[in-house]
């Protein structure tokens, strides 16, 4: 090749336009950018691992079962809200003098009950009967806790994981659980309960006294919104201190009628007396037997079984229930009201969660759903009864001054056939239901 030959270089335009190069980053910004990217990636990896460990991708929430719904008017919620507001504004008229004299009489009863309780060997002078911790300590000093009615879990049960119901049945957390010690010290437990009942009532009465306004009325949210708390029971003890004529509308079988209606059971809910006759096979059951049978029936309607049923009945009767008798009674109820039993089974079947190759029952979710549903329906019953009472009263009268879950407190005198009218309104909302209304 000739060294003088000239070399030529040809430049071709590229086919693709090169992307514009990003503006050059400063050293600090570049480091920050890199760290953020790496961190985001690490978080993503971590989340993916956690998702895989928890059973793959997020599952959609299992829908809750749909139960029968009451037939309510389209403006029902507004009417109830307006009525509740009116009830709060009306207040309950209390006679201050009557309340005070009743309170003084009860205080004397409290001192007598205390004297009775302190005559028990296990209650010392240092024991404060108003404090659960003090009472439990006094009982434990006497060795009562070593003779619990509920058996301790065996070694094999502990290894297999103790039954949650059994564990709950062994717990003594408040005065409401003190009946579990009545196999060792039945008299002391009865005496403590007698004292507690009066004490709690007096605490409520004292607070009622402080809430009386200058117009002799008590205005409180407890008297509206279908309150179901223990306080309603405490308020009942002070009804004789009300000012003027009052009457009560009691919904006697709210829970029973709702469960029967939900389950499509066509028969009428049985009376506690009949249940006791059936349960104990006697012609004339005692009051304790009637209370036991009613508690058993209520516990069964609430879908309690085994230790949970034992606990429910024990809390109501404040005695140690015979577990074999409970089981026998439950089986009888299952046979007698087959549709309710099927309803309970079908409802429980909705609360099984797929776990690996099997399904597991979710008792907490089931209990929460059922209790919430029943509370909502019972509140609805109270609302319908209150609206019916208001509608069946003269225009210038405002009778309902308190609306609780299972009863209404009204001023004046009841109109004739009021209970039939309330029952008719309830039948319209809960078709083919069998609510029992009592005016007293």
């Amino acid at each position: 090749m000739n060294s003088n030959q000239r070399r030529t270089v040809t430049h071709y335009d590229p086919f693709f336009v090169a992307p514009p190069s990003p503006p050059p980053l400063s050293e600090t910004a570049a480091t920050q950018h890199g760290v953020t990217g790496a961190s985001r990636e690490a978080i993503g990896r971590e989340m993916a691992i956690m998702r895989d460990l928890n059973g793959g991708f997020a599952k959609p929430p299992v829908p809750l079962p749909q139960l029968r719904a009451p037939q309510l008017a389209h403006d029902h919620a507004q009417r109830v809200a307006a009525l509740d507001e009116k009830i709060c504004e009306r207040g309950v008229a209390i006679d201050r003098t009557k309340l005070l004299s009743l309170g003084k009489m009860r205080f004397a009863q409290l001192l007598a009950a205390e004297r009775e309780t302190r005559s028990e060997r296990v209650i010392g002078t240092r024991c404060d009967l108003t404090s659960f911790a003090s009472v439990l300590f006094a009982l434990s000093q006497a060795g009562v806790l070593t003779h619990m009615a509920v058996p301790a879990p065996s070694m094999s049960e502990q290894l297999a994981g103790v039954d949650a119901q059994l564990e709950a049945a062994r717990k003594i957390e408040s005065f409401a659980d003190l009946w579990k010690l009545s196999n060792s010290e039945p008299r002391a437990v009865r005496a403590i309960y007698a004292f507690r009942d009066i004490f709690e009532s007096l605490v409520f009465g004292q607070s009622l006294f402080t809430w009386i306004e200058s117009d002799d009325h008590v205005y409180n949210n407890l008297f509206a919104r279908g309150s179901s708390a223990e306080k309603v029971r405490l308020f009942e003890a002070w009804l004789s201190a009300l000012k003027g004529a009052h009457y009560r509308v009691n919904i006697l079988n709210s829970l029973q009628a709702i469960v029967f209606w939900l389950a499509g059971e066509n028969s009428v809910p049985p009376e506690p007396h009949d249940l006791a006759r059936d349960c104990f096979a006697v012609r004339l059951p005692s009051q304790q037997q009637i209370t036991f049978a009613a508690a058993l029936f209520e516990g069964w309607l609430l879908a309690h079984k085994d230790w949970a049923l034992w606990q429910h009945v024990g809390r109501v009767t404040r005695t140690l229930p015979d577990k074999a008798l409970l089981e026998r009674g439950r089986l009888k109820l299952r046979k007698r009201f087959r549709s309710i039993d099927v309803f309970h089974e079908q409802l429980a079947a909705q609360f099984y969660k797929r776990t690996g190759d099997h399904s597991e029952f979710e008792p907490v979710r089931h209990r929460t759903f059922f209790a919430t549903m029943l509370a909502r329906l019972r509140s609805c019953v109270s609302q319908i009864a209150a609206l019916a009472t208001e509608e069946n009263s003269p225009a210038n009268r405002a009778p309902v001054v308190a609306r609780f879950r299972d009863q209404l407190l009204c001023v004046g005198k009841p109109k004739p056939q009021l209970s039939e009218r309330i029952a008719a309104a309830l039948s319209g909302t809960f078709p083919r239901s069998a609510f029992k209304i009592e005016i007293e």
């Binding site: 001192l111 108003t130 003090s134 007096l202 009465g205 009622l208 409180n220």
Partner: protein, 80 residues
């Protein structure tokens, strides 16, 4: 605050007190209380150990002193 508890049968005026019962506050002057404590008729407990029923339910016991119920008790049994 102290709670006075009778630890022997005691008669004050027309009132009879049995073992373990609470003596109402102001039922006796302080000197008499001291005397009864010395004679082992009475014992004093701190309110944190045993509360006075007369002070807790002062509206109905006509006691001039008052003792507050716990917030848990008020929430459970009183109008709130």
């Amino acid at each position: 605050m102290k709670t006075l508890v009778v630890i022997r049968a005691l008669q004050i005026g027309e009132c009879h007190f049995k073992h373990g019962e609470e003596l109402p506050p102001h039922a006796l002057p302080r000197e008499a209380i001291e005397l009864h404590i010395e004679r082992k008729h009475l014992v004093e407990y701190d309110a944190s150990e045993r509360r006075s029923l007369h002070r807790l339910l002062h509206r109905f016991s006509d006691c001039s002193q008052a003792e507050r119920l716990s917030s848990a008790e008020l929430a459970a049994y009183a109008l709130t």
